[in-house]
């Protein structure tokens, strides 16, 4: 299966996201075709200062999808996901604005002929790929690892159509499908502090503390994420916490382990809180 892929700015230098996405897609036969010369989606920053520029940034990404013939754009980041979906919703309802934006894009030879669907890679893995592709390959010991699924905010909110805005299940179900033990917990969609974590570390650290404390209380040994900023905040945000640090692998890294891929090929050596002890459970 082929998809238009919008990696977003954080993808490349993250804790093994790129490595694990590529390795897993290769293993299960998903082809992610990166949109050539894509630009930043503007995240929550551009729209805070300038709405028109924010729409132009995301519109250009849609125009690239039109140019290269993709009716869906797949992302791996919650912030990209919601930035794109926000503009898509606005443009879908406002043909006048779409015309004005297309007029701006024409100087680069671009234009939106079809508003592509915006999807997270988790949706592709869970909904499009036959469940059998994930099951039955798990190395022994996978089931001994207790995983808490952490969704963050912007996959299910404000949308609520992909999954429940406060108690989503898709990632839990996917992790279960891979053969892991999944723990129930109430921190699935608590905020990690997002872009405020960097300038307001002391104010945001309690948010991360709350998430880690909750998943640990419920018996999790790792907490898995599907957004680069969630991953960084949960991983780096444990710096001053007492007690053993909890590893924060991407869902794609857990998928890779369940498919029998090597930890290094999945970039698991790039996590700040090491996962080595748990890897010894896998035989």
């Amino acid at each position: 299966m082929k998809y238009g892929f919008y990696p977003g700015c954080s993808y490349k230098s993250e804790a093994g996201y790129k490595e694990s996405v590529e390795a897993v897609c290769r293993a299960i036969g998903v082809e992610l075709r990166e949109l050539p010369d894509w630009n930043c989606c503007g995240a929550t920053s551009m729209i805070s200062m300038d709405a028109e520029n924010a729409h132009l940034l995301t519109a250009r990404i849609f125009a690239l999808a039109s140019k290269y013939g993709f009716d869906a754009v797949v992302t791996t980041c919650n912030a990209c996901y919601t930035a794109l979906r926000k503009t898509r919703k606005i443009l879908k309802a406002d043909a006048g604005l779409l015309a004005v934006i297309n007029h701006q894009l024409v100087a680069e030879g671009l234009g939106i002929t079809l508003l592509p669907k915006v999807r997270h890679l988790l949706e592709v893995f869970y909904q499009d790929i036959d469940a059998a592709a994930w099951t039955g390959k798990s190395p022994a010991g996978i089931g001994d690892i207790a995983v808490a699924a952490y969704y963050g905010c912007q996959l299910t909110r404000p949308w609520g159509d992909v999954d429940h805005p406060e108690r989503p299940q898709m990632l839990d179900e996917f992790i279960k499908r891979l053969g892991y033990t999944v723990v129930d917990h109430s921190a699935r969609t608590l905020c990690c502090g997002a872009s405020h974590f960097f300038p307001y570390q002391d104010q945001c650290r309690p948010l991360v503390d709350k998430i880690i404390a909750e998943v640990r209380r419920k018996g999790a040994q790792v907490v898995t994420t599907l957004c680069p900023l969630c991953q960084l905040n949960l991983d780096a945000g444990q710096e001053t916490r007492k007690g053993p640090p909890m590893p924060v692998p991407y869902f794609t890294q857990l998928a890779g382990l369940a498919l029998g891929l090597s930890p290094v090929a999945l970039g698991l050596d790039k996590l700040l809180n090491p996962i080595d002890t748990l890897l010894r459970k896998i035989r």
């Binding site: 930043c40 995240a43 929550t44 551009m46 200062m49 919601t82 905020c191 307001y200 710096e239």
Partner: protein, 194 residues
């Protein structure tokens, strides 16, 4: 930064405050504030409400009072982390997060920022990097922000070292093949979109 033809009310005059109020009501979803029942679900759902000088519920009361100078000077929109929890829970379906975005843009346009708040500066650096390179690079963004806030930077040394050790610290910005495309796109818009 926005359309220069728009009248920019300065703070203070009641008439101008009402103009700002009207402007907010005219943004998409803005008028929904009139249906706010002051239940406080937004304030109770907000992860950073304890940092805000006015919790979201209070801010909406101030908007309806027409106290727009107080609203635009408030740190509340700048502490909004865009988690959308308030927005999905609001029983009156007020697009709270979108209104916070609109308030930030109005404050930026009026040049009114809550004193000492760090987010306007961070957004500015972020948006400059987007205009310059077409993409952003986490470590470059952190470095540029850190030059302005050395104390914050010092507290991030552990994370910085961790990123270095795990080969995740970029010393050069990632760029589009031709970043001028974005600069041109974002600049062009100013003369075309009203």
């Amino acid at each position: 930064m926005l359309n220069n033809n728009i009248e920019k009310p300065s703070a203070g005059s009641p008439q101008r405050e009402l103009q700002w109020q009207q402007r907010l009501y005219e943004t998409p979803g803005g008028r929904e504030i009139l249906g706010c029942i002051q239940c406080g679900t937004c304030s109770a759902s907000c992860p950073l409400t304890d940092q805000m000088d006015h919790a979201p519920r209070e801010l909406f009361a101030l908007v309806r009072d027409g106290a727009m100078e107080e609203v635009l000077r408030s740190n509340t929109p700048w502490f909004c982390v865009s988690c959308y929890q308030c927005m999905v829970r609001c029983p009156r379906e007020i697009p709270v997060t979108d209104i916070m975005y609109a308030l930030k843009r109005m404050a930026a346009e009026a040049g009114i920022f809550p004193k000492g708040h760090k987010m306007p500066g961070l957004y500015k650096i972020f948006n400059q990097d987007v205009a310059r390179y077409g993409k952003i690079t986490g470590s470059i963004l952190m470095g540029r922000y850190g030059l302005r806030h050395p104390v914050d930077m010092a507290s991030k040394m552990g994370t910085g070292l961790g990123l270095l050790k795990t080969r995740r610290f970029d010393f050069t910005p990632q760029k589009m093949v031709d970043p001028r495309k974005i600069a041109a796109l974002l600049k062009r818009k100013r003369t075309h979109i009203k």
